[in-house]
Symmetry: C2
Subunit: 192 residues, 2 copies
DNA sequence: CCTTAATGATAGTTATTACTTACTTACACT
DNA sequence: AGTGTAAGTAAGTAATAACTATCATTAAGG
């Protein structure tokens, strides 16, 4: 049944994200998803195949990143702010996948590249295009759009990691205000 | 002998960084360091203790981050550039430790916090102080120095990850130029 | 020459893991 | 009533892991 399959995949996502590929056990995944180990192997022939299915299943599609296009209507500063928040939110919603990305970037290189691409690389390109467009309209000054995009997104990646990957207390500064402060620097640094 | 001990620790660092804690095996570590497994366990009573010793051994001391103080003599822009390069270089030289940091941030939380602190958090504080100082002298405008520091370092973390953790081809743009471009944005964004 | 310390060699223990085989149960549809 | 499908139960296999016990070897120092 489709329900069983999904329960296994969800439990597997959690388990892989908590313990890494080698650390996760089919026994625990079966227990959490409330099926027997035999059933698990009936759906997915091996742990490796289960892993691949997990990644593909939860990989965000091209709609992740759509918000850049949506933000284009806004004023430059507002657009950046909106993009930053959506990006941060997107990272948060894909927390399990991101943990896997970091843990398995060595051993499951090609699979992880897909995650990285879907979450970050694609956005990089879209954002760079946005910068190019604004440069054409002389709204912002000339700089390498791809570098600018990498820098802009990089800021939030680091913010995200500190808070969600390493669970470091973000201190007294609230994220919203921190984002605004960073945007201010970036806007001043890039405007014509 | 001290040499044997160090050989084991070095091999262990590599192994943990390649395969993660659970993925690494005492057998392989022994093989690479050219001792028998028995010897390994004579020096370190368990895999867990070996792991702790590896982290402590290769943890960078407070001299990592010293370069911020050294850069203070320079012009603002040059100082930032120098800091960025030293930071990136420092990350590169601690590549194995950083891999471990990402892979084990879930399971060895307290140990990993030490790595994060030594590599990033301490620097954050030092850099924030530098910004505060410059704000006092009216060289740069007022902004939350701690947020500014986090943003500044965050950029390079993301650059580093893309290139060294995920081994993504950085494309045609060379790192040196990319760094300069980002610094330009940051300087314009923060100057008085 | 004898002792001590550092290491090797060999073998074994216990636990766990991914994965399998064979048989059974429960339920839905015809 | 009978059949097929999705799942459970029980038991087991082969490999591998961390870790231990025992004894032998080597080399340096008194």
């Amino acid at each position: 049944m489709e329900d069983t399959r999904n329960r296994i995949l969800k439990a597997a996502l959690e388990s892989f994200s908590k313990h890494g590929y080698t650390g996760a056990t089919t026994r625990e995944i079966a227990r959490v998803s409330e099926v027997t180990e035999v059933t698990l192997f009936r759906y997915f022939q091996s742990k490796e195949k289960l892993f691949e299915n997990v990644v593909c299943k939860f990989l965000p599609g091209p709609e992740f990143g759509q918000f850049v296009s949506n933000a284009k209507e806004l004023d430059y500063r507002q657009a950046l702010e909106s993009i930053a928040h959506f990006f941060l939110e997107g990272l948060k919603q894909n927390e399990d996948l991101i943990r896997i990305l970091y843990m398995e970037s060595q051993r499951h290189y090609e699979l992880m590249e897909q995650i990285y691409s879907a979450l970050i690389n694609n956005l990089n390109v879209i954002l760079a295009d946005y910068f190019t467009e604004l440069q054409g309209k002389n709204i912002i000054r000339r700089f390498d759009p791809s570098v600018g995009a990498k820098m802009f997104l990089g800021i939030w990646i680091a913010f995200y990691e500190e808070e969600h990957l390493f669970a470091i207390d973000p201190g007294k500064v609230k994220t919203v205000e921190a984002v605004r402060e960073c945007i201010e620097i970036f806007v001043r640094g890039t405007q014509a």
